[in-house]
Subunit: 225 residues, 2 copies
Amino acid sequence: MSTKIALGPDDQPLAEKVVSRIRDMLIDGELAPGQKLSEQQVASQFGISRNTLREVFRLLTSQGLLSHIPNRGVFVAAPNAASVIDIYRARRVIQIGAVRMASRGHPALLRMGILVAEAKEAQKSNDWRRVGTINMEFHRAMVELCDSPRLNAFFEMVLAELRLVFGQLDNSAHLHEPYIDMNSILVSLLEAEKISEGIEQLEIYLLRSERMVLAALQRTAEQKG
Amino acid sequence: MSTKIALGPDDQPLAEKVVSRIRDMLIDGELAPGQKLSEQQVASQFGISRNTLREVFRLLTSQGLLSHIPNRGVFVAAPNAASVIDIYRARRVIQIGAVRMASRGHPALLRMGILVAEAKEAQKSNDWRRVGTINMEFHRAMVELCDSPRLNAFFEMVLAELRLVFGQLDNSAHLHEPYIDMNSILVSLLEAEKISEGIEQLEIYLLRSERMVLAALQRTAEQKG
DNA sequence: AGATCGATATTGTTGAACAATCTTCGATAT
DNA sequence: ATATCGAAGATTGTTCAACAATATCGATCT
């Protein structure tokens, strides 16, 4: 059980690297929500000591990706409907606030435009995985309209948690396809400084996206009994 | 150097307790920004092992209260003007979003009303420390208008960081006095469902508060050379 | 004064150990 | 058969001691 995983060069602390590594695994859906992570097992899997792993777990727990129950252990966070609703509530506050600050020529707005173009490219080549990734980046860029590192970091956390849910979904289909056009429209509105209409468009997106995630979540919940 | 500090009953993990303890010390200004926290020294001060303390440090670092420089150590975060500006940027987004959701009879709005009354009481008895505490709680309550645990948690973090700055300021004077009336007006507006005017009032508050903190920060920076 | 180099202290990480707590599972009683 | 209880085993919580890697400091040299 000691299939020590390669961890790359040693410029940043070991714990940080393992944090990134596990976060990626969580986001890619390689670990099932609710699954228990045994200290001994995971430590040997990554070839690190329990003490170091505990630092890693503390970090990921504080970011909502793991959940820690004292004396019971650490588990992969299992977002439920309530979590999803809360996540979208937070998204509305942050992202509407961001759109409100949009101004022509803002680097983040330019980036949003580029990402829409890239999404259309990926759509043409039926690369749905890439469409999904680009969509995430699109919304990250949107929050960068605020020019606030703290808001960026928080939004990053929220998105990571949301991806925990996405990781469980059937990713094969056109999950993100309908959003390409919506994003495109939003960019046009913002470039024309039509803020209110932009907000409206964003709210349409968020509502639709929220419903989709909730429905998918319910489906997987039913599958598991 | 081993003045082991009392840590109370043992129902929650040791690390969590020390996290709270150190957070309180930071917020109360008992540790100077920029000050180095030696692992060995702090560990023996709290009567815990280095390994456990490292978990504590990781937590507090991820919350922005400490700053960790690999191979150099852990330091008390030293928010500068840029940090303060960013904090207020985040506050605007979150709190304006919160006020926008205010509705008559919302528990958080009721609580805001009660806190204003309590602040006026504290003002009468010249209890400025209490006025400051109540003001913090007032804004916490405001964010609770969103009904979002995640936004609450994030705002809590931001506020803690801000208090790091406040901890350094001369707390003797009427720092928070002018805000009592502004808070009172805001509650009245929201209870009358005058959202736009409420937002305006909040923006006035935030701008004034930001200027005050920035000015005070600059003063202490000058003092230290 | 400024650069160089080695001695010292601190951080990063590990492994082993033990107490406290949880889980499992069989024995017993109903 | 079901429920209860308790002991054995496993896991977490925490400490300690050690060592490598890195940073800090001071003395020395130019």
